[in-house]
Symmetry: C2
């Protein structure tokens, strides 16, 4: 593509609308201008002009500042996170974790072991553990916390997250960890699981996710799933999950219809009402 050129008056007189444009012909060499984007280095038309040089340079400085701040925050995260040693089989290694003073037992999973931890960490991450371990309760005295209806793998991932703020998720693990995060009031983990589930949402998963989010007070996920469902109401009412949901939880179905109706009313043009 040939470079786009435009003539522009360097002569201050030309700022006035009364300027003599005839003068340009004699000064063509001087008046020609090419605008080349400093960023992508492509020539551009004045209609596609973005910013002046000063704003470009300022934006560049701001970007550098953001990058520095990100690096500093990442270093802070690395400093603050605690290592929670996990063996190659995914099980925690109590021998590598020194000075532990509490054991968490997955009560619903008789097949595997327990998860060792430090009271100080559990207390700092969860108001529920704090109340449990700083008062004269059975768990505080015995140093044993039994947790119902949870697999060893989910409990281990949960405790690991309390140490590191990191975990690997698939849908099932995100559901399991969101339940634990809700129960023990670990907001950061709950938001992390919701974000993961929202990023993988599609219409096939929307009903299950909506019902789950409804049950566990996961507002962000609930809103995202609901938006997807009411955008596809016809398909929704024809799928198998809909029939199941109508049987098991008709109140949830009513809520979805109410949201659908509210959207219809809000988006209808005044003439049609």
């Amino acid at each position: 593509m040939p470079p786009r050129r435009c003539n522009h008056p360097l002569n201050p007189a030309s700022y006035s609308d009364d300027s003599e444009t005839d003068d340009y012909d004699d000064e063509e060499e001087e008046l020609n201008c090419t605008m080349r984007c400093i960023s992508c280095e492509e020539d551009y038309d004045p209609d596609d002009a973005g910013t002046c040089k000063e704003c470009y340079e300022e934006a560049n400085e701001i970007e550098e500042e953001y990058k520095r701040e990100i690096e500093e925050l990442k270093a802070k995260v690395n400093f603050l996170k605690l290592s929670y040693p996990v063996e190659p089989n995914g099980h925690s290694n109590p021998y590598a974790l020194t000075h532990t003073d509490v054991v968490l037992i997955p009560y619903g999973d008789s097949s595997s072991g327990s998860v060792h931890a430090h009271k100080a960490i559990l207390v700092s991450r969860s108001p529920v553990f704090k109340a449990m371990l700083e008062n004269d309760m059975e768990e505080s005295r015995s140093g044993i916390i039994k947790i119902d209806d949870v697999s060893y793998d989910a409990l281990s991932a949960f405790v690991n997250y309390l140490y590191t703020a990191e975990t690997c998720l698939d849908d099932q693990m995100a559901f399991d960890l969101l339940v634990l995060a809700e129960k023990y009031e670990v907001k950061h983990l709950k938001a992390f699981c919701e974000k993961f589930l929202i990023s993988g949402l599609n219409l096939d998963k929307a009903i299950a996710n909506y019902a789950f989010a409804h049950q566990h007070n996961a507002k962000q996920l609930q809103d995202s799933a609901l938006a997807l469902i009411i955008d596809n109401m016809d398909r929704f009412t024809r799928c198998e999950e809909y029939a199941d949901l109508k049987d098991t939880n008709p109140r949830v179905v009513v809520e979805i219809f109410e949201a659908y109706l509210a959207k219809q009313v809000n988006t209808a043009s005044p003439l049609k009402l």
Copy 2:
């Protein structure tokens, strides 16, 4: 200031250098263009053009992504940092800090108390504490760590930083914490103190900072102080601190002169050599 306008050929024929510029006169209305910066909304001259619209929009999206990443990292830092309760008088409150299993005693400061902490935190933040507390050493058995030549205030701020990655600094506290960070290999705190001292550097402080940095292996601070000194060698050799340093640490003075000479040689023009 009147808007700056330039004529530009919308006619594709004008891309060629042979185009007839006479045509523009008849099409003035159509050909006029005003370039207004999308960011500051000021009109600008083509010579001051920055980026095209596409790059501006892309840069905006990247900026939004950086902002989101910063927010997420800040939330992660808040989740990971542990509270270390400090009373209004600046002293730690062992009763508010539950499940502690180690006490740090400032051996050089007989006036005040001790600092309570958790072995698990000290071990995770410092390789020196890790070696001390995970092996069969006196400190590991007794749960008491005596630290020489440190004030209670510095030790308390040091332990607080291990929990929170935060502290309030003045020059003296930055020196004290840098010494502890060096001794216990807490790199994050050492970098934090160096950055603080560098930000407040001036010629009056440069010699003391250089000598201190030299002694405690603080490379960033040492380089910054040295650069300031050799830019002002004449003033440096006339100040009181110079005379003291020559007496107490002549090797450091020699190093400064060597750096000065190296700079002279490097910046001299080839003709003068």
